[in-house]
C-alpha cells in the first residue's frame, strides 16, 4: 500500500510537469525508557508515518509532506510540492542542477541479532532499573539523582525517483546509558556512562545495548560523581590536553563535521546554523590539522549511527576522506551542491531528512577520526604534564566553526606520565585549525563508534542521528580552565 501511495504522488507531480521528483514513504517507530530514582519516569512509544514529495519545477525546488496517508491527501500533497516549486521559481537566480547518480533498485537493512522492539519491555526496564539502583546505592546522601535510559528507533523507508530509483531500507538503532548526580553544599557533579546525554547508540540490535553492561559500570560512575565533589577545580592555564573518545566525538562533530558540510560553505545555511571557515578556495590545500589528523565521512562503518545503504537522494553509502594527513581534501555534499562545485565523484551521499515531513539536507553520516599509532597508556605515559578530559558536559562553537569551548564531566591532572589527581569543572577552548594543528598523537586501542542522535540543523529544524569513530588523542598548548 505504501508503494502504491508513493507511486500516486510521483505520477501526480510528474504529470504536472516536474523535471525531477522523488518521493519518500517513511514510517518511524521509537521507544524511550527512563528510570529515575527508582521510578519509571518515561515509558513511551511513538509511531510516525508519512510521505514527502520533492520536485524541481522551472528549475526550482518545492517540497510538501503529510502524515495523512489517504489517496486524496497524497494527490493534494504532490500538487502542493509542484505549487511550492513554482513559487520558488519567482525568486531564483539559477536553475537547480543535480550531479548524476545511478537510479538503483535496491534493498538495505541494518544487520542485527536481536530486534530491540521484540525484546520484552520488562527485560529492558529491569536492565535500566538495575543500573540505576546500583548507582543510587553508592550513597543515599550524596547521589541525589540517578537515571538510566534505553532508546530504540526503527525507520522503514521507500525512496522512488522520477529517474527510476526504487530503494527500500530499514534502519534500526538502539542504545542507552546512565548518569549519577552527586550534590553537596550546592556543588552539583554529574558522571555518565558510556557517554553523557542519555548514553551511546549504534545501528545494531539489542545486543549492542547489552554489550554496554550498564549495571556493571554503575557503581564506578556514581563513585566518580561523589569523588568530584571533593576534587579541586581545573586550573586556568595553557597545557597539554588529552581528550578521551567520549569528549573527542563531539569535538570532531562540531569542528570537523559541520564545517565540511558543503551547503554551509556555499552559504545556504547562513540564516541559522551559519557558514564555514572552510571556504571553497581552501579545498585541497588548507592545512586543517597536523599530519596525524585523518578524518573521513564514512556511511559504511559497521555499527555507526550514521550507517545506511543509501541516502535520501538514492546515492549509495560512501566512505569519503575529509582530512588527509592534516589537509582538507573533501566536503560532505548532495547531488545539487556537488554539481555546483563540479565535484568529479558527485555527491558524497550525505543527504538525509529526519522525517517524511522534512526536505533532505546535507547531514553528517559517520565522521571518523582514523586511529593513530599509539596505545592510550603509552600516550599518557609519554605526557610529562597535562590534563586528561572525559565525557562531554557542554559545547559551544561559533557560526563559522572556528572558536569553540567545551566542558567535560571529569578530568585528571597528569604529571610525569601518570594520572595524578581528579579535577572538576574542566573546560578548554581554541580555534579549530590551531587546535587540530597541535594534535601530536592519536591512539588506536580504544577506537570505537560513538552515536549522537541529536544533531540539529536546518530551518525548519531537523534532528539527525550521526556517528563518530574516535579514540583518545593529545593536543599541545591548549587553553584550559575558562569557567
Amino acid at each position: 500500500m505504501s508503494e502504491d501511495l508513493a507511486r500516486v504522488a510521483l505520477r501526480t507531480v510528474q504529470k504536472l510537469g516536474a523535471s525531477y521528483a522523488d518521493v519518500r514513504y517513511v514510517r518511524i517507530e521509537s521507544e524511550n525508557l527512563h528510570v529515575k530514582k527508582g521510578v519509571p519516569e518515561e515509558i513511551r512509544k511513538g509511531v510516525l508515518a508519512g510521505i514527502g514529495v520533492r520536485a524541481i519545477v522551472k528549475g526550482a525546488w518545492g517540497f510538501a509532506g503529510t502524515t495523512t496517508l489517504k489517496r486524496a491527501s497524497i494527490v493534494d500533497t504532490a500538487k502542493k510540492a509542484y505549487k511550492v516549486a513554482c513559487a520558488s521559481a519567482r525568486a531564483k537566480k539559477t536553475d537547480v542542477k543535480l550531479s548524476p547518480t545511478l537510479a538503483k533498485k535496491a534493498k538495505y537493512s541494518t544487520p542485527f541479532k536481536k530486534d530491540p522492539f521484540k525484546v520484552p519491555l520488562q527485560e529492558k526496564l529491569d536492565a535500566i532499573k538495575a543500573a540505576e539502583r546500583t548507582a543510587a546505592a553508592e550513597s543515599k546522601d550524596l547521589i541525589r539523582t540517578s537515571s538510566s535510559f534505553f532508546r530504540a528507533h526503527r525507520e522503514r523507508k521507500l525512496f522512488l525517483s522520477s529517474e527510476g530509483a526504487k530503494i527500500n531500507q530499514t534502519i534500526v538503532w538502539c542504545g542507552g546509558g546512565l548518569s549519577a548526580t552527586a550534590i553537596k553544599n550546592g556543588d552539583v557533579q554529574v558522571r555518565s556512562y558510556p557517554a553523557s546525554f542519555r548514553g551511546n547508540f549504534n545501528t545494531a540490535g539489542y545486543e549492542f545495548f547489552e554489550s554496554l553492561d550498564l549495571a556493571g559500570h554503575a557503581s564506578e560512575t556514581a563513585r566518580e560523581a561523589i569523588q568530584l565533589l571533593s576534587a579541586e577545580k581545573c586550573p586556568s592555564t595553557t597545557t597539554t590536553l588529552i581528550t578521551a573518545g567520549d569528549q573527542l566525538a563531539l569535538q570532531v562533530h562540531e569542528s570537523c563535521g559541520h564545517p565540511t558540510e558543503l551547503d554551509r560553505a556555499l552559504g545556504t545555511e547562513a540564516d541559522y546554523a551559519g557558514t564555514s571557515f572552510l571556504t571553497t578556495d581552501k579545498l585541497g590545500t588548507f592545512k586543517y590539522g597536523s599530519p596525524k589528523v585523518n578524518i573521513s565521512a564514512d556511511a559504511t562503518t559497521p555499527g555507526g549511527l550514521g550507517t545506511f545503504g543509501y541516502d535520501d537522494e538514492g546515492v549509495p553509502a560512501k566512505n569519503i576522506p575529509l582530512i588527509k594527513r592534516g589537509v582538507f581534501v573533501n566536503y560532505q555534499s548532495s547531488r545539487e551542491t556537488a554539481a555546483l562545485l563540479n565535484l568529479p565523484k558527485g555527491s558524497s551521499g550525505g543527504m538525509r531528512a529526519d522525517s517524511p515531513l522534512a526536505m533532505p539536507i546535507v547531514r553528517m553520516t559517520n565522521i571518523n577520526l582514523l586511529p593513530g599509532d599509539w596505545k592510550v597508556e603509552e600516550l599518557i605515559r609519554d605526557t610529562q604534564e597535562g590534563i586528561l578530559m572525559l565525557t562531554n558536559k557542554s559545547w559551544s562553537i561559533d557560526d563559522r566553526r572556528l572558536n569553540f569551548q567545551f566542558g567535560t564531566e571529569a578530568a585528571w591532572l597528569i604529571r610525569s606520565g601518570s594520572k595524578e589527581q581528579m579535577i572538576k569543572q574542566a573546560t578548554y577552548t581554541g580555534i579549530t585549525h590551531q587546535f587540530w594543528g597541535s594534535c601530536d598523537a592519536v591512539s588506536n586501542d580504544d577506537w570505537h563508534m560513538h552515536g549522537t542522535p541529536t544533531c540539529g540543523k536546518g530551518v525548519p529544524g531537523q534532528v539527525m542521528y550521526v556517528g563518530h569513530g574516535v579514540s583518545t588523542a593529545r593536543f599541545r598548548n591548549v587553553q584550559v580552565g575558562i569557567a
Binding site: K45, A64, T68, A87, A270, D271, M359
Partner: protein, 456 residues
C-alpha cells in the same frame, strides 16, 4: 481537521481507554501546519509545505502509566493508540510518585490568536516577500553580497481531554520572518540579522526587518579585535531572550527537584537587580505562543518568576506530575506533545521581562567603554546552580566608547554567571520586543566577561 474535530478525537480516545479498562486516561490530538520559504545567496533554495497530525494517549492503571504517540488521527489509529497504551501500562511497573491526571478547571478562551489567512498563506505570498527582502537588502549598498533567511506561516492546534472531565483546546496561527545579510568589502565580511515573530502576516514588517539586517551588515565590515575581559554591555532583545531561555531552566520543577536549579539555593534571596521583574503568562498577547491552557488542559497561570530581583518557591513552574510529587497543584506549564519525541516536564514559553523607561540610545550614551551585542549564539550551560553560560556574539557586535558606538568588533566568546550578569542590570529599555519564547527589552549590564575572540 477543525479544532472541534480534534476535541472529538481526544474525547473519543479517552472514552475508549476507560471502556478498555484504564483507571484514568488522557488524550491530546493536534495538527501542525508549517509552510516555510527559505532563501540564501539572494534566491529561494528551499521551500516546504508540511501538514502533521497526531495523537498522544496516556493511560493509568493503578499507577502504571502507558504513553503512546501516533502520527495519525483516523479511527483505526485512535483504536490502536488506545490499545497499545494500555498494553504498555500493563507491562509497566507502578510509578508511586504519580498522583493523578489533572482535575478539570474552567478557563476562558483567548480571542484573536488565530488568523485563517495566515494559517493558509499562499506560497507565492511568501516568495514575493522573500524577493522583496532580498531587494531591500541589496539596495542598501552595492557591497551587499548575499541575503539569506526564511518566511514561515502556519498554525498549531491542539485539544486535550481526560477522564476526569478536562476538555480544553487552543489554536494559534504563526508568521515568522528572519533575514541575514552578508556584505563584503576589501576581503572583509559583515553580517546583520533581524527577525519578526507574530500570529499574523499583517504584523510582519518585511521592509523594516530587511532594512535593519542590512544596516547592521554594512556596519560590521572590517571588525577590530577586542581583547577579552570584563566590559559593560548593552544587550539587544535577541541576546536577552536567548540568555533568558537558558536561565529560565532554573524555574522548572524538574531542575528544582533534581537540585540543579539556582532557585533551590537562593530561596527568598535577591538574585538579580531590583529592577529585574520576570514573569511567564500564556494569556499575555505580547508573547508569541499564547494559549489559555497547557498541554494537559490546565489553565495557564501567570507566574511571577523574578519579583524585584527576588526568587522563591513561587518562582517554580509545574505540570501535574512534578506538582504531585510535592503535593502541589500544576501551574499550567505542561509542554504540548506536538512531536512524537515529546519532552517530559514543564516548560516556559511565554516569558515577559518588564520594560524600563530608557531608550537604547540612552543606554549607549551612558556606557563609557562597553560592547553592544545584537545576538548571542550557541549558548550552553557550563554550571547549572551558578548559571554559568558560555556562547558567542553574532551578526553585529560593536565597541561603545564614551557614549557612542565607535566600531564593529569581531565576534566574542563570553563565559559568565548570568546570575551575576543580571544582578548588574543598570538600565532596562522601554520597548519590549517579541522573540519566540520571551518578550523582552534591551538591557544594559555593568559587566559581561568575554573570554575569547573569534577569527574574522
Amino acid at each position: 481537521m477543525s479544532l472541534e474535530n480534534l476535541s472529538e478525537v481526544a474525547r473519543k480516545a479517552t472514552r475508549l481507554a476507560i471502556k478498555k479498562g484504564a483507571d484514568q486516561a488522557e488524550a491530546t490530538a493536534y495538527t501542525l501546519v508549517e509552510d516555510l520559504t527559505r532563501f540564501a545567496n539572494s534566491q529561494i533554495h528551499q521551500n516546504v509545505a508540511t501538514h502533521k497530525e497526531g495523537l498522544r494517549v496516556r493511560v493509568v492503571l493503578k499507577k502504571r502509566i502507558g504513553d503512546l504517540a501516533v502520527g495519525a488521527l483516523d479511527p483505526p489509529s485512535i483504536l490502536s493508540a488506545v490499545r497499545d497504551s494500555i498494553k504498555i501500562a500493563k507491562l509497566s511497573p507502578p510509578n508511586e510518585l504519580f498522583k493523578s491526571l489533572p482535575e478539570p478547571k474552567k478557563y476562558t478562551a483567548l480571542r484573536g490568536t488565530f488568523d485563517r489567512r495566515t494559517a493558509a498563506c499562499d506560497p507565492n505570498f511568501r516568495a514575493d516577500n522573500a524577493k522583496r527582502a532580498i531587494q531591500i537588502a541589496h539596495d542598501k549598498a552595492n557591497f551587499v553580497k548575499a541575503v539569506a533567511g526564511s518566511y514561515m506561516t502556519g498554525s498549531s492546534s491542539f485539544a486535550v481531554a481526560n477522564s476526569l472531565g478536562t476538555d480544553a483546546k487552543a489554536q494559534v496561527s504563526l508568521a515568522q520572518m528572519a533575514v541575514t545579510v552578508i556584505s563584503k568589502k576589501k576581503g572583509s565580511e559583515g553580517h546583520g540579522y533581524y527577525s519578526g515573530f507574530a500570529r499574523s502576516t499583517r504584523e510582519i514588517d518585511v521592509d523594516t526587518i530587511a532594512e535593519k539586517a542590512a544596516d547592521k551588515s554594512v556596519k560590521t565590515i572590517q571588525p577590530a579585535r577586542l581583547e577579552p575581559g570584563e566590559y559593560e554591555a548593552v544587550l539587544a532583545p535577541d541576546a536577552v531572550a536567548l540568555s533568558l531561555y537558558y536561565v529560565s531552566n532554573g524555574f522548572l520543577a524538574t531542575w528544582f527537584q533534581d537540585g540543579t536549579s539556582f532557585v533551590k539555593y537562593n530561596l527568598g534571596k535577591q538574585v538579580f537587580d531590583e529592577k529585574f521583574n520576570l514573569k511567564d503568562d500564556g494569556r499575555d498577547m505580547a508573547t508569541l505562543y499564547v494559549s489559555p491552557v497547557d498541554g494537559e488542559g490546565v489553565p495557564k497561570q501567570a507566574l511571577s518568576l523574578v519579583k524585584k530581583g527576588f526568587v522563591d518557591e513561587r518562582s517554580i513552574s509545574y505540570d501535574s506530575y512534578t506538582a504531585g510529587k510535592e503535593g502541589k497543584k500544576s501551574t499550567g506549564h505542561a509542554s504540548v506533545p506536538f512531536i512524537e519525541a515529546f519532552a517530559a516536564g514543564p516548560d516556559l514559553v511565554n516569558m515577559l521581562l518588564a520594560p524600563g523607561d530608557v531608550s537604547e540610545e540612552e543606554m549607549i550614551k551612558e556606557t563609557s567603554r562597553g560592547v553592544y551585542v545584537s545576538r548571542f549564539w550557541y549558548v550552553r550551560t557550563v554550571n547549572q546552580p551558578r548559571m554559568i553560560l558560555t556562547g558567542l556574539t553574532r551578526d553585529g557586535t560593536f565597541l561603545i566608547e564614551n557614549g557612542e558606538i565607535t566600531k564593529p568588533v569581531r565576534n566574542l566568546r563570553f563565559t559568565d554567571s548570568f546570575l551575576d550578569v543580571y544582578k548588574g542590570t543598570q538600565m532596562i529599555g522601554k520597548d519590549q520586543e517579541r522573540q519566540t519564547l520571551a518578550t523582552v527589552p534591551t538591557l544594559k549590564v555593568s559587566k559581561l566577561r568575554f573570554t575569547g575572540v573569534s577569527e574574522e
